[in-house]
Every structure is written in C-alpha cells, then in structure tokens.
Symmetry: C2
Subunit: 381 residues, 2 copies
C-alpha cells in the first residue's frame, strides 16, 4: 500500500515495478458500478477488494475478496485499505468522514474534496458559480421561512431538493404555481434543502471526462473526454443515452470546456461525470450544469461497446497512474437501461443482432431497479 | 476477510429453463480461458464456479467460488456439480473419465465424445477421414518397428507426435531426411504416437464455430461462424491471428463447411475451433484439417473487440441454451499474444491508441507463457 506522504501532493505509484506485479484496487461499495469496475480491472490483470456494508451487492461475486463493515468503523476501513494499492468508490452517497479518514494515509481517488462538493447540492452550486459556470437559479432552504422567501424570489416551476443523499430523483419535490407550500416543505421533514428553478431544457447531456496521473513523472496526463450523449429519463431514472447527442458543435465544445474547468479546479483523478442542460434562448443554445458525479456514470455505459477503452477501464488506469486509454467512439450507439421487471424480457433481448447485453446478476427485482443495460449499435461513424 | 466461497449460497435452479433466475456455470480448469469465460458469464449476470487442482490459476480471482480437487475424486466432482446449472471445461487436456462421470448425471457441454476425439490425435484423424475431411498422411506408432515402417511409408519431413496430451507444440518431434530414427523415437519414451507428414502450408487458418441448443424447444440453433483468421506461431506457440485472413472466398466457404460438418457429426454444443492448413497445389488451394479443439480458442480472442458478441459469451449462451449472439465482425483486427517477459513492455502497450489490452493477472512469468493479448484495431470493414 502506498502511504500518502502529503495531502497536497499526489501519491506516487512506482510504475516501473507496479507493471510487473499484481496490483489490487480497493472499491468502496458493491453495486453495479463497482461490479463493472471489477470486470474492467480484471481485463488489466488487476484484482479488486470490495468494502461492503452487507455483502449483498452484485459486485461481490466477481471481486477477489470483500471486507464487510460499516463506514463508521475506521479500524475495519484500515483493514480494508491495508494491502491495496489504491482506493476508489462507486457512489457519491458514501461516508465523507470515511473517505477523509482513508485519504490521510492512503491513495484515494477521486479526491475527497470532489466527493465533498458533489454530496452537497448547495456546495456544488456555489462551487460551480465560483468557476463562472452557469447553473439554474437556486437558494438554500433551512427552514420554512427560508423556503417561502426562496419561492418568492425564484418562482415556479421549481424543485425543492434535499442538499444531501439525493440520486435518481429521490429527495426531490416539484413545485408548481398551485402547490400548497407548507405541505410541500413538510415532505422533506426538515432536511437541509435547496430550491432550484426548474429548467425548461431542450436536451439533457453529459460529459464523461477522465483525468489521470502519470505515475512516472507525477504530472497530470491531459484529460480525455468521451463523446457527449443525450440522456432521457423515466420517472427520474435514466432510461436512454444516445450518442452522438443531436447538438451543435459549439455546444459540444463548450460542454467539454466546462467539464475540463471543473476537473482542473478539483485537481481531479479518475472518471468525472458532468450533467448539463441545453436550454434554447431564441436562436442560441445555452448550457447550465445540473450536477457533477465523481465516479463512473450510467450515461457512460455506452463506452463499453463503442470505444477502444471504456469509462471503467479508464477509471482504473487513471487511479493507478497508468496511461489513459483512447476515448474515441467508433460507432453510433444507444444505451438503454433494463429497469425492474424488464429483465424478464431477456429472452427477446438476447437474439437482437446489434445488442450488446450487460446484466448485473442482481438477486432480486424491484420496480425501476437497474438490472442491466443494452448497448444498441446503430451504425459506424 | 471473507473468502468468496464462504459468502455464497447456491440456490438449486431448474437447469432446463428460466432466463429470469441467477444461473451458475461450473468450469473445469482455472487458466486464462476459464478466466475469460467467467468474465463473459458475469456480463450476462451468470456466476461461475471453478474446479481447480491447486487453486493457483488466474480464473480463481474472478470466479464466484472454487472447489479444489483432483480429477480422480468423483465425490469432489459431484460436490462441484451440485447446484451448478451446466458444466463446461476450458482445456481438452482434462480427465475424460471425470467428464464422462459428470455427463451421466449433469449437463456437460461440449459433449464428452467431442473431448474424447480431440484428446487422441489418432482418433481425431480417423474421425476426420470418416467424414471425408482431408488430413495430412498419418500412421499410428506404438513401437519402434511401427515407427520405422511409418517413416518408410510417409517419408520426411514429418512430425512424430504423442497421441495424447499434446498442446502448444509439446510432445512433438520433427523428422528430416537426416534424423537419426532410433534417437528420435526414444524422445517420446514409448508413448503411443502418430507420425504425420509435415504440411508445407501457405497459411494456417482457424474456424471458430458456435452451435447451441434452444432450451425452450430442445432443438439445435443453426450454428454461427466467426470470420476466419490467419494464424502465425513462434516456437510452437500462437503469436498472431489476423482477421480477415488473406484467402479466397471459396476457401473461406469450404473451411466453414468443413467446420459445420464436424460440429454436426459431433452433435456439438458450445464453441468449437477447427485449425486448418491452406496448401497451394498449382493454381488451386486445398484445405487440410490440422486439429479440432472442443473449447474457446486462442485464435478467437480477437472476437472480444471486433464483434457484437465474442466467443466467450457465445460459449456461455450456447451451453445455457440461450440464443446465440451475432458473430459478425465489424472491424479488421490483429490479435497479438503477450508471451513471457513481453509483459514487462506493458508501459509501451498501454498508450497505443487502437490497442485493446487483455491481461490475465498471472502471478509468475515464465518463458513463452501466455500472459495476455492485445487486439489491435486495424480499420473498419
């Protein structure tokens, strides 16, 4: 295990020796993103150890081994870290104190401050504003009085969101001109919140960026960016990512420039996902950043079958200090999530001639649960 | 730390049907072919259990669990088989009695008779001749007198090969006009052998065919065949497979027809590899079958990055009775094996922009050992 000598300095993995020994990546979390990281690491001959709260997740069956424990058990976390070469995580809804604890002694990527910002919708919006990146109008809400004042300023339609622990549309309440304000506020049970002006967008797109360290020089490799998908949701859950997104080249370049600015500001290592709205303003289009995720991302799953090196392998390469792989896309592709009981239609998916099927092996099915995805190859670019 | 075998409990699942349950494949053997089968099964949400003699192989770290045992321990084999939905193997150099034992009670694919034929060079040649498939001149050798008579009939250059347990050029002695015959024969230590006329070939090619059962109807799916690579060897070990092979269309069709004939005669299920020599006869080209392998094959590794569904996934689909996936190739590609100490050049392989890298995570390096392979994307077809 590489000790982190200095928090402000990147820990160096001695590549000259590490390419000829078997490396171990520690992954906090045991879901499908962890699973696909394990499979990508395996392709590179790299073993993975999973830190899991209940050993029920679908990453367990492919991992080399697993440590069961809760995020407040620092001794257990240290046991997990002992003997792994680098630590990463598959979700931003994990314990920040745990990641900060591990970061004091071990190499943990993406950096804890990226996690900290992405966990708090208010900090995230403020951070983005500090970079002169456009976001929708927002206001912090920590009381009903705050909420009423925020509605007064921002108006409707708008969305009241919990600041922490939101994903896949959870912890969100939409607000219209007819909403009963006090009842709406009470649905968040007093959680710290943020009111955001609802964005009337033309497209939702995302930028999947990878930025890594050269372990030989300790310099940052120039970031690479995958092509930009347009994403559609059903009931707050991602359903489809279509690549290429039907957007103008100047919007494409601007979105990539925004993601680079964010990654540089965070001194980022690994895969970073930036979700953006494309908003029509007359003949012009404008970009607003919706949120950032310091991890591999569902809107990047199409890279598994349309690129030389996919987001999972590039995340592993980046955190190990290995050269970042080619992110070029060589086919048009549509990623479709298999949600909940759609998994029972597998018999009809399997024979489709241009469908690359990825199933997560989850033991139980529940409504809208992400059970797998299909990359439908469309054509050659 | 929990070992995987402690974590997992296996529900007994009806072998014949259900696509909506979590299935388990048992794999006999723990090498890189088993490893890549495990990773392909994982993409389909299918778990794998490995039967391993020493638990040292590179498939272990990604398998869901492992049963250690020798091939003569039928009780242990039964424990391995109990709770898996189907059994397969990654090498033809495994115990035929073990596979026959398991086949009495469990679903084992490819069928034991295909294994039996491919394990014995003499039975293989006789089987091929019985199908009117061309093979090089050969004669059985079970004594020095046999050997001298065979040399008399077949002439030189020729190759004396052990009938059993040969692979990667092992158990073979080349014979020229100058060879000292008695000394040559003694190098096989009296093993049952076969003398084969050495083939002066233009190309070595291989056909990777997949044939499956429809578990819903118990009928055979029509076989599918991958495009044909041309293969080159170094010191008896496969070094490169280049696709497409530079051969005429009529040769391509004839090679595929031969593979179909063999698969049908064997009532085959799974991936079957057929190696052939393209021999020049004046303006005509002629095909001779060299050998057949009832398993996924090194000359099919390019399918991992050039096809919608690769040989490993199609093997898993076939043995589970699932629909066979699309075998179309959509890019030109060259597969290069990383042999022995070439693994230390990884630092130079990783940045190559069109190289898809696959490493097996083997703990020790020895000369010419297969450590990984690279699929170099050449162009779009």
């Amino acid at each position: 295990m590489l000790k982190k000598r200095d928090l402000t300095q990147y820990p160096l993995i001695d590549t000259s020796s590490n390419l000829d020994k078997n490396l171990v990546v520690g992954i906090i979390g045991d879901g499908q993103l962890g699973r696909m990281l394990v499979l990508a690491a395996a392709r590179l001959g790299v073993k993975c150890r999973i830190y899991s709260s209940n050993c029920q997740g679908c990453a367990i069956s492919v991992a080399d081994n697993v440590i069961q424990g809760c995020f407040t058990d620092f001794a257990n976390l240290d046991e997990f870290a002992n003997g792994v070469d680098v630590i990463t995580y598959e979700s931003e809804n994990i314990s920040l104190p745990a990641v900060k604890h591990l970061s004091k002694k071990y190499a943990v990527y993406p950096p804890a401050h990226a996690l900290e910002i992405s966990q708090d919708r208010l900090a995230e919006k403020k951070f983005l504003k500090s970079l002169d990146v456009n976001v929708t109008a927002f206001q912090a809400v920590s009381s009903e009085a705050d909420f009423l004042a925020a509605v007064q300023r921002i108006g409707t339609p708008s969305i009241l969101k919990t600041r922490f622990l939101g994903y896949d549309g959870k912890g969100q309440v939409e607000l219209t001109a007819n909403s009963e304000l006090s009842a709406t506020y009470s649905r968040l049970s007093g959680s710290p919140a943020i009111l955001e002006k609802k964005v009337d967008f033309e497209y939702e797109i995302s930028v999947i960026l990878v930025r890594g360290l050269n372990s030989l020089t300790s310099r940052v490799y120039k970031e690479k960016i995958y092509d930009i998908p347009a994403n559609t949701h059903e009931k707050g859950i991602l359903k489809r990512s279509i690549v290429p997104a039907p957007i103008d080249d100047n919007i494409r370049l601007e979105a990539k420039a925004i993601a680079c600015k964010i990654a540089n500001a965070l001194n980022y290592v690994g895969i970073l996902a930036v979700e953006l709205f494309v908003v029509r303003c007359g003949k012009q289009a404008k970009l607003l950043v919706n949120e950032i995720s310091p991890r591999v991302h569902n809107t990047g799953h199409w890279t598994m079958d349309a690129c030389v090196v996919d987001q999972f392998e590039n995340h592993i390469r980046a955190i190990l200090g290995w050269p970042i792989g080619n992110t070029d896309r060589y086919v048009d592709v549509e990623m479709v999530n298999i949600l909940g009981s759609e998994i029972y239609q597998l018999q009809s998916f399997l024979p489709q001639s241009k469908s690359c099927i990825h199933l997560y092996g989850k033991e139980t099915v529940s409504p809208l649960r992400k059970m797998g995805h299909i990359n439908k190859i469309k054509s050659f670019s």
